[in-house]
């Protein structure tokens, strides 16, 4: 990687042309969505491209109608419950990220320090699990979460849940936040363990031994000594898990019910055949893309670390 202290070489102008072209290609489509999300459908469909239009936030108002405090004149009722879905997405992505990190971290530490398996075995099995497409999990997860992973509503816990939260029938994982979180944690764990391993390996053993001399137990050593040292790895792993949980559509759509829909489901549902409301869809797409864009802008270094740790060192 280029360090800032070195002098920068000057390049041929054509080289810069290429670079500018690449930048336009990379962010152009996203910019296009951004611009269109401020246009009315009539302006979008009439095909008058360019910037000659009256920007409006009406699309965003339509999308956020369930959380905005005022009534909108252009809407008869609030069809798109974007606010609710956004909260669902946020809860599911955050909880599954935190769980994956904590559990993955502990497992990676145990694998490295206590030498359960060789590094090759771990990389091998990680790759195997990474190989499984979400579509393959669709059928079994749908069946299990709906029919097997249930508590009878007559059992103690089941009746407690039904009394507290309402709903009908046996209490099943499907249709709950926990159900979606469980599958996301499972899907992301192998990758997180893999990345974190490569960071934990670099923590000098002497530091841990010194702490142990001072009378710290294994948990204290782990939390006070190891964790702070692998922060960059944690950041990278966190961004990757969050990204997958935030963006995933297929499994969430099979497992969620009307109260647990996430934003990607909402977007796909609104590409309905009768009425593609481009403006509103672009606005929801933009809102969904904002968190990942922010991460990218502020933590690109960690993302690149994570990517290269995943492939180059593995």
């Amino acid at each position: 990687m280029s360090s800032s202290s070195e002098t920068h070489q000057s390049q041929h102008p054509a080289f810069y042309m290429v670079v500018v072209m690449l930048i336009i290609m990379a962010i152009g489509p996203i910019a296009l969505m951004f611009v269109n999300s401020f246009k009315l459908d009539v302006d979008i469909i009439s095909g008058t491209s360019g910037l000659l239009f009256l920007p409006t936030i009406q699309n965003y108002e339509t999308a956020l109608c369930d959380v905005l405090p005022y009534e909108m004149e252009h809407l008869d009722f609030c069809a798109l419950k974007f606010g609710g879905a956004f909260v669902n997405s946020l809860v599911i992505a955050l909880v599954s990220t935190i769980l994956t990190l904590v559990i993955g971290c502990m497992a990676a530490y145990a694998l490295v320090r206590f030498r359960f398996m060789g590094r090759d075995a771990v990389s091998g099995s990680t790759l195997m699990v990474r190989m499984v497409p979400p579509a393959v999990l669709l059928v079994p997860v749908f069946g299990l979460w709906n029919n097997e992973f249930c508590i009878s509503k007559t059992s103690w816990l089941g009746s407690l849940i039904r009394d507290e939260f309402g709903g009908r029938g046996d209490v099943c994982l499907a249709g709950t936040h926990s159900g979606i979180i469980l599958i996301y944690v499972a899907m992301n764990l192998p990758f997180v363990i893999w990345i974190l391993q490569s960071f934990i390996v670099q923590v000098p053993r002497q530091l841990e031994e010194a702490a142990r001399m001072d009378g710290a137990g294994p948990f204290q050593v782990f939390f006070k000594v190891v964790l702070p040292l692998i922060k960059p790895g944690l950041a990278a792993a966190a961004i990757f898990t969050f990204r997958i949980a935030w963006n995933e559509y297929l499994l969430a759509s099979a497992l969620s019910d009307r109260d647990t829909k996430t934003v990607p489901i909402l977007i796909v549902n609104n590409m309905s055949e009768f009425n593609v409301e481009w403006g509103v869809i672009m606005a929801t797409g933009m809102l969904l893309a904002i968190p990942p864009i922010i991460f990218t802008l502020f933590a690109s270094r960690q993302i690149i670390t994570g990517m290269t740790a995943g492939a180059v060192k593995g």
Binding site: S2, L127, P133, L138, A186, G285
Partner: protein, 303 residues
């Protein structure tokens, strides 16, 4: 409990949550799927209520022309996106491996497409491919060309282009990292020997990068088999079955045709296909790693 037993148990305690979750939510479902693939299974039934049909689901698929077409589309899609992305990604890495101002900004911008939800990528591209108001046809028209029926006659090409847009940066960034971690000594040696830029690339850089490139390619290949949302939003697998990759067909078989058993069998076929490809790539990687190690040794002996 004494401290000694506690210490002996620690590793197991650390591993337990991960093992439990993966067993419950990955291994069990996979076993469940294999079991289900031998049964005539309807979404309104629990698996226990379904009837055992032996290999019938596998045989049906084996003889099903739609399944063949779908498998063909999947392979075509995966092969083209991986090869084109590798070509462009590695090419760009070689071109941009210079010490220029703003390199980190450039890298940040390149990562953006990868981070955005596939659903959103699909929606942006579906709009850009729109027959009358999309940016591609508008540009073509204003330049005086015939407009192209992107999502109709050229649907597969259209989804391949979208995937290339989203994932070429992945290969670019990994290749760049690989390039920058090459042993300086080898490159110095070549420069002293008077090798041209092309000779350096062909004889030194590429062979030395090869192990990383193979892993990168493998990761991309695996991911290419997972693509679903982008295509779902852009074409829903159409027209005909021209963009219906297996992942999409599995989900349609399960939800639209309501045949969970067949969908499970199809999932198994897909897994087997992936397994074979992965094993081949890994074996090839071993060979290349060995060669790269030998190449470094030879170059270093030269000095």
């Amino acid at each position: 409990m004494s401290t000694a037993t506690f210490n002996r148990l620690t590793p197991y305690l650390f591993l337990a949550p991960a093992v439990v979750i993966m067993a419950l939510a990955l291994l069990y479902p996979l076993g469940y799927m294999i079991y289900g693939s031998f049964r005539a299974w309807d979404p309104s039934q629990a698996l226990g209520e379904s009837t055992f049909v032996g290999l019938a689901n596998y045989v049906t698929l084996w003889n099903d022309p739609s399944f063949h077409e779908s498998a063909g589309v999947t392979l075509k899609f995966a092969a083209s996106v991986v090869s084109v992305e590798m070509f462009i990604g590695v090419g760009l890495a070689l071109l941009l491996d210079r010490n220029i101002r703003g390199m980190s900004v450039l890298r940040t911008l390149f990562i953006l497409p990868m981070m955005i939800a596939p659903v959103v990528v699909g929606l942006i591209w579906r709009y850009m491919y729109h027959p009358s108001v999309g940016i591609f046809n508008n540009t073509l028209k204003s330049l005086g060309f015939e407009s192209i029926d992107w999502l109709g006659q050229h649907a597969l090409l259209a989804v391949i282009l979208a995937d290339i847009w989203q994932w070429t940066p992945f290969i670019f960034i990994l290749s760049l990292a690989a390039l920058q971690s090459l042993p300086r000594s080898a490159l110095e040696a070549a420069r002293i020997d008077g090798a041209t830029a092309w000779q350096q690339i062909i004889h030194i850089k590429l062979p030395l990068m090869m192990p990383v490139l193979i892993v990168t390619g493998l990761l991309r290949l695996i991911d290419a088999f997972k693509v679903l949302e982008v295509i779902l939003v852009m074409t829903e697998g159409g027209p005909g079955l021209s963009t219906e990759i297996l992942a999409l067909r599995i989900s349609r078989t399960a939800t639209e045709f309501r045949e969970l058993g067949v969908a499970a069998a199809m999932s198994n076929y897909l897994l087997m296909m992936l397994l074979v490809l992965t094993v081949i790539m890994l074996a090839y990687n071993r060979v290349q790693e060995y060669r790269a190690a030998r190449a470094i040794r030879i170059i270093e002996e030269d000095i």
